[in-house]
């Protein structure tokens, strides 16, 4: 196995692990707390950004698994490069959207009159933070994979 193939497989395996972890942690995040007769129920499906994050990470982990299990022919490698770029963009935009909404949830927005909710459901907030960290790692790994694919064409493959 050449060095290029080994590094690619390693990066994709790590990205698969991170994306799978992000999906699972985000999907299992829910909490209900009662404060002064009011019940606050927090689920990830209440916010479209978190739903998008979960779907994007699920797609990325499924794609990584499929590519890891299939063999690589010449034309297949070109298709994998195209799909890698699309998945990298998807992961990057999903983590950014989830981070933006989570920031509003944690700090609120005084100009729009939006109050932070992390005070009422702290365990939900911690859970979501864990999912966001895993998603961030997956996005970075896919970008590194793409950069490595481009950079490695500078070097001749030793036979």
């Amino acid at each position: 196995m050449t060095r290029r193939k080994a590094v690619t497989i390693l990066l994709r395996l790590l990205a698969f692990g991170a994306a799978l972890a992000a999906t699972i942690v985000m999907v299992t995040s829910h909490e209900s707390a009662s404060v002064l007769n009011l019940t606050f129920k927090a689920k990830f499906s209440h916010t479209p950004a978190f739903v998008y994050f979960a779907i994007a990470e699920a797609i990325a982990s499924g794609y990584s698994l499929i590519v890891l299990l299939l063999s690589s022919k010449n034309w297949f490698r070109r298709l994998v490069v195209v799909l890698d770029a699309v998945i990298a963009v998807l992961l990057s935009s999903s983590i950014s959207a989830a981070l933006a909404i989570a920031h509003v949830g944690k700090k609120g927005n005084s100009h729009s009159g939006w109050l932070p909710i992390c005070g009422q459901v702290p365990k939900f907030c911690d859970h979501v933070t864990g999912a966001l960290i895993a998603g961030f790692i997956a996005a970075i790994l896919y970008l590194v994979l793409l950069v490595y694919t481009a950079l490695d064409t500078l070097f001749v493959e030793k036979p």
């Binding site: 129920k41 950004a49 990057s92 729009s112 500078l154």
Partner: protein, 196 residues
């Protein structure tokens, strides 16, 4: 014609390549997204209370600086349009700047990828923040703001659309560059060193 030029031409003219046109359109899209979002401001005066016949007015404004997601959107699109401009200039002055075309192509491809990641992150964050402002969130008790500031919402929506158009075009260029590199690699250590 007596002489037919088959295959790739020997000298590639700078502006006649389709990728330069696409990059120019992408630059215009990201630059317009930056400018439209940066200059979208709306102020409204509401009558808050009426004390003894004298109405008390309160001025509320909507600016892009109020939301960190929109600030990131402006910064990311600004950097993307700057990158597009620099790459256009690099391709026009290519012969004067680079000796080894292999490194030049890889560098442009990698920089393009970084910019695509940045622009997609900015676009995604601003899109969901705008969706939150348009629909509100009943579970978190966040009320929508687009019914009060509709022209601000329209302008940021237009900026978002322009940003996504620029992003898709840039992604097209990036993918084409990487595939071209995979098909015709120009390695820098292709000197065959055979040890005795």
């Amino acid at each position: 014609m007596a002489f037919e030029n088959r295959g790739k031409p020997a000298v590639e003219k700078p502006i006649k390549d389709w990728r330069h046109v696409v990059r120019m359109v992408s630059f215009l899209a990201t630059a317009s997204a930056t400018l439209v979002m940066a200059f979208s401001k709306e102020t409204k005066t509401l009558v808050v209370a009426n004390i003894g016949g004298v109405p008390i007015k309160a001025t509320i404004s909507a600016k892009f600086q109020h939301t960190p997601a929109f600030v990131f959107f402006v910064i990311a699109n600004g950097m993307a349009s700057l990158h597009n401009l620099l790459m256009i200039m690099a391709e026009v002055f290519r012969d004067k700047m680079f000796n080894n075309r292999g490194v030049h192509l890889v560098m442009i491809a990698i920089l393009d990828m970084m910019t695509v990641a940045l622009a997609s992150a900015g676009g995604g964050a601003a899109l969901f923040m705008a969706m939150l402002g348009k629909n509100g969130n009943s579970h978190a008790r966040w009320s929508k703001i687009c019914d009060k500031f509709d022209s601000y919402c329209d302008r940021s929506g237009g900026a978002l659309i322009a940003s996504f158009v620029g992003l898709v075009l840039l992604l097209l260029i990036t993918v084409h560059s990487i595939i071209k590199l995979l098909n015709h690699p120009k390695p820098i250590n292709n000197i065959d060193i055979t040890l005795p």
